[in-house]
Amino acid sequence: MNKEQFLNQLKRSLSGVPETEKKDILYDYEEHFRSGMENGQKEEEIARSLGNPRVLGKSYRIGSLLDESRGGRRAANVLRAVFASLSLGFFNMIITVPVFAGLLAGLIGLWAGAVSLAVTGVAVILAVILQPLLPAFITLGGLSIPFLIFASIGISAMGLLTLIGMWKLSQWFIKITGKYVQFNLRIIKKQEARA
């Protein structure tokens, strides 16, 4: 077999391999023949030591099939990433957003409660102090002044404690929200990286 025959057989057994790659492969063997001849080898000799071109062609075909399947997997990964983001978005819309809104509303309500407790405490003590000055506007409702003072201290203390508690609760709420957002971003990024 000479160079021409070898290359032709190889070319024929490369059917199914992409055209640019086929040219590349054939170039490698052409160069091999050229270098061998520069070294004083005969075409037939070189062809013989290269081996059966049909067998070589087969190993290239297997290689390019593997590439295709890898490419296919990449496409599937992209699809999975898109699907994961979509389903994550759907889950967020249906479950997370309502839960978040509910928790936020509850938190606001509790804040309002805490503020009104504190304001009530202060208002009672102001009422006790201002009543002698403004008898036309403020009545103590028949309650004794010591009772009102103690009640005011109690209500104010409760308000203050609730405010401190609310402050802690809000910080915790913000932290959890941040963590959940990060978790979402991580999932999306991971899917992208895999694709």
Binding site: D28, E31, L50, P53, L56, Y60, G63
Partner: protein, 106 residues
Amino acid sequence: MNVQFKKGVLELCVLVVLCRRDYYGYELVHTISENIDIAEGTIYPLLRRLTKEGYFTTYLRESEEGPSRKYYQITEKGQTYKEDLLQEWTHFVSSVSNLIQEEEVA
């Protein structure tokens, strides 16, 4: 010797040889076939696969005789891979030698 086994060893040989310096195809094939009896053509599919996997890069350089030649250069990834394979190989060979020696004693 078993063809599949030879192919695996061939991969290691190509990596080891290319660790020394850059070779062009014919030169590399020649170096290996001087030591190992194999159909020379099978080295090219191997080179192509290992290049695709990022173990080698290629570049063209003019030769004194005329047209340019495609040179293969090992990458850092290729060197790490070679080290791994070499370790596996050494382990394998010593295990086999141990086994053979045990047989001889018994």
